[in-house]
């Protein structure tokens, strides 16, 4: 053995090196490597331990059709009351109010979760003036009472009543301006105040009052809305714990969100090997185009983590809500990432390449954006999610409801809705910036 050592020191040295190279374990072997399951591991940063949920029901004649007998409106309301009652993250107290020209606190002498059963045209009669539905005033009254520990929920049909105004457009503009004013005042006092709007539809057993205050019977389904106003912390509790119960109901339709906050920085990752056209090199977040595809445009997928953005998935998936500062780029699709796959609507599921899967170990992504670039790319890729009114608002808005009885599409709309929500949106845009986030991907 001694002879071998003396005679072949080089071979032995080499043998040791090769052997140790083969056996070397990865340094971070003890790190628990896993692909995070979508939606899991949410950190809870809520510091509040007590809050009040103030629920306001618009007590007007136009709302009687929603509470006449057993309706879907009541079903959703019941879900809300039960969800609030069973919320365990913080201690929530429920207060219920009827609101018109007066604010009437009541619980009809029953426990909170039973209020929905007691809410009828009869039980709400004689509480203020049921002919009055001045939303500017209603919102103003509620926003004045908006404390830091309060979640306000306004349940209303939000049909604007011009009350004899000869110029409808002027009246609607007034609605927008006064609504904006009310929200500006409220958000100036508390910049963390956020607003969510949920849209539902319900069976309707009552009288509809059109633009001329003409009563129309025989309309069986109508939309209505929940306006939720709360500071960020409580809105997070509502979004994570209560809203899912409402969105599970069969008559939930849409959602809008308004905030002065932005959500920068946001986690992104360009995939170099999944469904791309052209050869890409991604290094420390920088994208280098190694080679362009022959006759096609350059295409690639960027993964993105939207889990901290409390915006409806429909809004996130609408490519019209994104802006790109570099005109060479466009967004082809926005899809969702589920496990090891990407779903773009109307397309076959795209499996994430194993090479890319390794690159996103221990990183969390919820969505995918398919980018396309025309020609040679000369600038960095910059994109942002804009704070816009969701497209459903325009689709749910009516300028003239006089033909509602004969027009089934009109029956699913709300007179003046766009102006009301433009007022809310305008206030938030005036105080905060107009982007939820923006991302720059340097391109070499």
């Amino acid at each position: 053995m001694k002879v071998i050592f003396l005679k072949y020191p080089l071979l032995i040295f080499i043998g040791i090196l090769v052997f140790s190279s083969c056996k070397r374990d990865k340094e971070n072997e003890d790190v628990d490597q896993k692909i995070l399951v979508d939606g899991a591991d949410k950190t809870d940063s809520i510091k509040l331990n007590k809050g009040i949920v103030k629920i306001y029901f618009e007590n007007t004649l136009s709302m009687d059709g929603y509470i006449n007998g057993n309706t879907s409106f009541k079903d959703v309301f019941r879900e809300l009351l039960v969800a609030v009652d069973n919320e365990n993250k913080i201690d929530l107290e429920t207060e219920f109010y009827l609101i018109n020209n007066e604010l009437t606190p009541t619980n009809f002498g029953v426990e909170n979760t039973k209020i929905s059963e007691e809410l009828t045209p009869q039980s709400t009669a004689g509480k203020g003036n049921k002919n009055s539905s001045n939303f500017e005033e209603i919102l103003n009254t509620i926003l004045q009472k908006q404390d830091e520990n309060v979640i306000s929920i306004i349940m209303a049909d939000f049909i604007y009543s011009p009350k004899g105004e000869s110029n409808t457009i002027s009246a609607l503009n007034k609605l927008r301006t006064y609504t904006k004013d009310a929200f500006l005042k409220a958000t100036e006092q508390n910049k963390t105040l956020e607003t969510k709007i949920f849209s539902f539809k319900s069976d309707f057993k009552g009288v509809y009052y059109d633009i001329n205050d003409k009563s129309i019977q025989g309309i069986n389904n109508r939309p209505y809305y929940y306006f939720i106003i709360a500071p960020t912390g409580l809105m997070t509790v509502f979004t994570n714990e209560i809203a899912p119960q409402l969105k599970k109901t069969k008559d939930y339709r849409n959602e809008a969100f308004f905030t002065t906050s932005d959500y920068n920085p946001i986690s992104t990752e360009i995939l170099s090997s999944t469904a791309n056209k052209g050869r890409l090199r991604v290094r420390d977040g920088n994208l280098e185009v190694v080679s362009y595809p022959g006759e096609e445009n350059l295409k690639f997928i960027g993964l993105i983590d939207f889990s901290e953005i409390p915006v409806d998935d429909k809004y996130l998936m609408d490519k019209g809500n994104y802006s790109l500062s570099n005109p060479e780029f466009s967004i082809k699709e926005v899809g969702s990432k589920k496990g090891k796959n990407i779903h773009f609507e109307g397309q076959p599921i795209k499996k994430i390449n194993t090479n890319d899967l390794v690159s996103i170990i221990n990183k969390k992504f919820t969505h995918a954006i398919y980018f396309e670039a025309e020609g040679i790319v000369s600038e960095n890729l910059k994109f942002a999610l804009r704070k816009k009114m969701p497209s459903w608002v325009q689709n749910s808005h009516s300028d003239d409801d006089r033909q509602i009885y004969n027009d089934s599409l009109e029956q699913s709309k709300t007179f003046g809705l766009r102006y009301l929500i433009e007022g809310v949106s305008g206030a938030y845009l005036q105080i905060g910036n107009d982007e939820y986030f923006n991302v720059t991907i340097p391109i070499k």
Binding site: I14, C22, K26, E29, Q33, R281, E288, V358, S359, I361
Partner: protein
């Protein structure tokens, strides 16, 4: 440093091997291979000039053989090291190393061998002067 080493192995973009190169870079796998390769090249050069150093080894054939041995060892080191680490990394997500990586690993091993030859040549120029018998090798 990470970028510099990657540039050597990817030949400043000319030897970029797609997913394989990405994994090597993202998981810092180039560095240990580079370190081992430098140690091997240095060790073999020192051994040639100061340990094996005899009148009958002081010729171009033996010197070139030493370079060849260094290149082969480092090619094996590069292939085995990359393979072992990548198998582990892909296993952590329940996947196998893509088949295309076998060719990429061979290319990587070949590039490492070429750099070893260049490095050993440079080291020979630096180290040869004090060698009792081989100071005129390679020239």
């Amino acid at each position: 440093m990470k970028d510099l080493i990657a540039n050597f192995y990817e030949l400043w973009g000319g030897g970029y091997l797609g997913g394989f190169s990405d994994q090597m870079f993202n998981n810092d796998l180039y560095f240990p291979v580079a370190l081992y390769s430098i140690i091997v090249a240095l060790a073999i050069t020192i051994i040639y000039y100061y340990i094996l150093d005899r009148p009958n080894t002081a010729n171009m054939k033996v010197w070139m053989l030493a370079l060849l041995i260094g290149a082969i060892i480092n090619a094996v080191v590069a292939f085995v090291s990359a393979n072992n680490d990548l198998v582990e990394i892909f296993a952590s997500i329940g996947e196998e190393v893509p088949n295309s990586f076998s060719y990429d690993m061979l290319m990587f091993a070949f590039i490492n061998a070429i750099w070893t030859l260049i490095l050993m040549f440079v080291l020979s120029i630096i180290l040869k002067w004090k060698s009792p018998n081989s100071s005129y090798i390679p020239f």
